[in-house]
């Protein structure tokens, strides 16, 4: 799909595909659109400037260079009154920021208005709010850490359908493109054709893959992948896991075991990334809390931010749990992954979404 791509070579249309084998992963590395693996095209065509520009024109950057439009539904005014604050509260709630964090942010605003730190000018208040939101993310550790002595393992966890496998594929592409050797661990042994899905990404990204039989013990598949990576001297293992709802105790126990096993010699789990769908409401906070309790989440990947949802729940996650937001997913293609940027994120929170 070619939505919002900024590339010079267009993939051929679907009709022109012809004889594509739909029964399994394609050994030639063509994706279902018939184009050659994107990373190959990428290396040759794009300069660094292009890459930066493409990032800008991501969902974050849509309004870059355009005067910031009013916060969703908020009427632009001269002075701030109680009505304004109510509208502001509603706007934040519409972004899924949640009551608690919204009240925290507004509480700060009200205090500043009372002490006259803020004059009551509308624009000034908006700027201050944006700054407060950005400040929530101050001091975040957004780096993806690697092991010094053992095989680096990054474990991906989250509920069903959030985009774990796709995120792994994108990250693998990025790592391979920057010269690392990567092994994918097909740790989702439950979902139908999950291994096949990851295998396609292994082909697209140039990473190796280790799969088990259907229904195999996920811990042993992950362990095998790490052993394989260690034997080959690979830099990085990206371990997929089955989506699971955090209220299912037995599944959370299984996840704990996966992490424990992955953290044994020769592997070291240096990142446990919680993949979170931007359309998620307040349950996102519960997800973060429960997964963090179970497997010590080191950071969050916020996916599907290219849609209409604002992903405001990450404000609550950061504010109440202190978890860093490390990456953002902006689509289904291999390069639709960027580092989380609080400035861009806050700006996007404040812009009107595109509506049909």
């Amino acid at each position: 799909m070619l939505f919002r791509r900024n590339r010079e070579v267009e993939a051929p249309s679907a009709e022109a595909q012809g004889d594509l084998d739909d029964s399994g992963p394609d050994p030639l590395g063509t994706d279902l659109n018939g184009s050659v693996s994107e990373t190959d095209l990428f290396e040759d065509e794009e300069t660094e400037d292009d890459a930066v520009e493409r990032t800008r024109r991501s969902r974050f950057g849509r309004s870059r260079g355009v005067l910031r439009t009013p916060l969703l539904g908020l009427r632009r005014r001269q002075r701030v009154d109680e009505k304004t604050l109510e509208e502001l509260e509603e706007a934040l709630i519409l972004a899924d920021v949640g009551i608690s964090t919204t009240q925290f942010l507004l509480g700060q605003l009200r205090a500043k208005l009372r002490t006259k730190e803020l004059s009551g000018d509308f624009e000034e208040m908006i700027r201050d709010l944006e700054a407060s939101i950005i400040a929530l993310f101050d001091g975040e550790d957004r780096e993806l850490h690697r092991s010094h002595l053992r095989t680096t393992v990054w474990l991906f966890v989250g509920v069903n359908g959030v985009g774990k496998t796709t995120t792994i594929g994108k990250l693998a592409g990025r790592e391979v493109a920057s010269g690392h050797s990567v092994v994918l661990a097909a740790g989702d042994t439950f979902r139908a054709a999950a291994g096949d899905q990851l295998a396609l990404w292994s082909v697209r990204s140039g990473a190796d893959i280790v799969q088990g039989a259907d229904g195999a013990d996920p811990s042993s598949v992950v362990y095998d992948a790490i052993a394989h990576a260690h034997a080959r001297g690979a830099d990085l293992v990206l371990a997929d896991s089955a989506g699971r709802l955090q209220n299912k105790t037995n599944l959370m126990e299984e996840l704990k075991k996966i992490r424990r096993v992955a953290d044994r010699e020769p592997g070291e789990v240096t990142e446990v990334l919680l993949v979170l769908d931007a359309t998620t409401g307040q349950n996102g906070l519960t997800q973060a809390r429960e997964f963090a309790r179970a497997v010590e989440v080191s950071g969050v990947v916020l996916t599907k931010l290219d849609g209409t949802a604002k992903g405001g729940i990450v404000l609550a996650i950061r504010h109440e749990l202190g978890l860093p937001i490390k990456l953002v997913g902006l689509g289904e293609q291999i390069d639709d992954l960027v580092v989380f940027d609080p400035v861009e994120f806050a700006a996007a929170l404040f812009e009107e979404g595109e509506r049909e």
């Binding site: 595909q17 739909d22 279902l32 949640g98 069903n160 054709a193 359309t279 307040q282 519960t286 209409t308």
Partner: protein, 449 residues
Amino acid sequence: MFETLTDRFDEIFTRLKGRGRLGDAEVDEVLREIRVALLEGDVALEVVRDLIEALRARCSGAELSKSLTPAQQVIKVVNEELTQTLGGETFTLRYASIPPTIVLLAGLQGSGKTTAAAKLALWFKQQGRHPLLVGADLQRPAAVEQLKVLGREVGVAVFSEASDPFSVARRGVAEAVRVGRDVVIVDTAGRITIDEPLMAEVRSIHDSIDPDYTFLVIDAMTGQDAVQTARAFHLALELDGVILSKIDGDARGGAAISVKSVVGRPIAFVSTGERVGDFESFHPDRMASRILGMGDVLSLIERAESVYDEETATAAMESLRQGKFTFEDFLDQLQQMKKMGPLSSVLSMMPGLPKEMKNAKIEDRDVARIEAIIRSMTPEERVTPTLIDGSRRLRISHGSGTSTTQINNLLRQFKEMQKMMRSSVMAAGLARAAKGRKKKGGRVTPSSK
């Protein structure tokens, strides 16, 4: 765990003493609490606004009920309002006069369409139909493969080909006609609603195959975006219904109300788990209490059903309904609960439980302790706990190896639970459930438990 709404309301209404009507000031305060509860439950802001106004109209100046506390009275009204918004009648599927009946599934990425397609196929099979699955998601790596694996699992053939979604859908329907299938279920790729080409694609698929039913599959944990998404898909496709997925999670599920309000079509089915049998008709009344944060007592009973035999279940429900819940019943329940799953999740579904009981992460040893206490009671004491005086308490404490404090706690908490069980709202709900069960005489779909 949150304080229940009744707890919050009780505090507000203690001021309402000796008055015959619900005062405006108290109603306002209570409506503020409800607003918070609904927003925390992910109900869309615009829907919350409408609901609050409707509630204000119903509650302001209303006479105080004789049989309900003001708090219960308001809760009852809120429950009714929510249930009404969510439901109306249950969804009934009408088959096309000329087969096949064509079903199209659409939704965002990751919402559960492919799994729902297979579950729907199984559901139709159990209705005596002969469905064909069509894999028109050519975008997601191995999506067709996933559908094929699921198809094998439910014993339903899957059609797909390596062309384009539009052609697959059309040829899939043609294939169904050719081999004499009476139902076709077309799975499509997930898509974001601001992707115009993709929305145009699904619209063209829809127009081409002219489905009898177009369902939006939406994740129960969706937040405020639910209205955006529902509107866009409804505009493009004229939805006939909604399938709510992943309701086995602990999301409050306000998206259900949001989508229903915006689309105006019923929530036809809910997906209650990862296995193909985890698929049911939607029950508005149960969803209403869950969204409010009041737990899902009826769901608890249904779960219990699958573990209890018919007789025990009916008897238990009867005694619950009549408020005659005793320690004997509780002992039965505990043992059944042990079979159902972690106690904390089961308890979390029971509204009105005292905070301490809910917040305490109840482990199996707590169950063992509670069981021991109850077993050390005489049968009389189990039925009439008020008999338990100091000396009996001591005896029970020795017999169960627990402290009198622990026994006091249990007695107190149990009394709270009985009170809650007797409340009119719950009784009404339970009565309805009892009626519903007697009519049905069993599930439409087997649960794979």
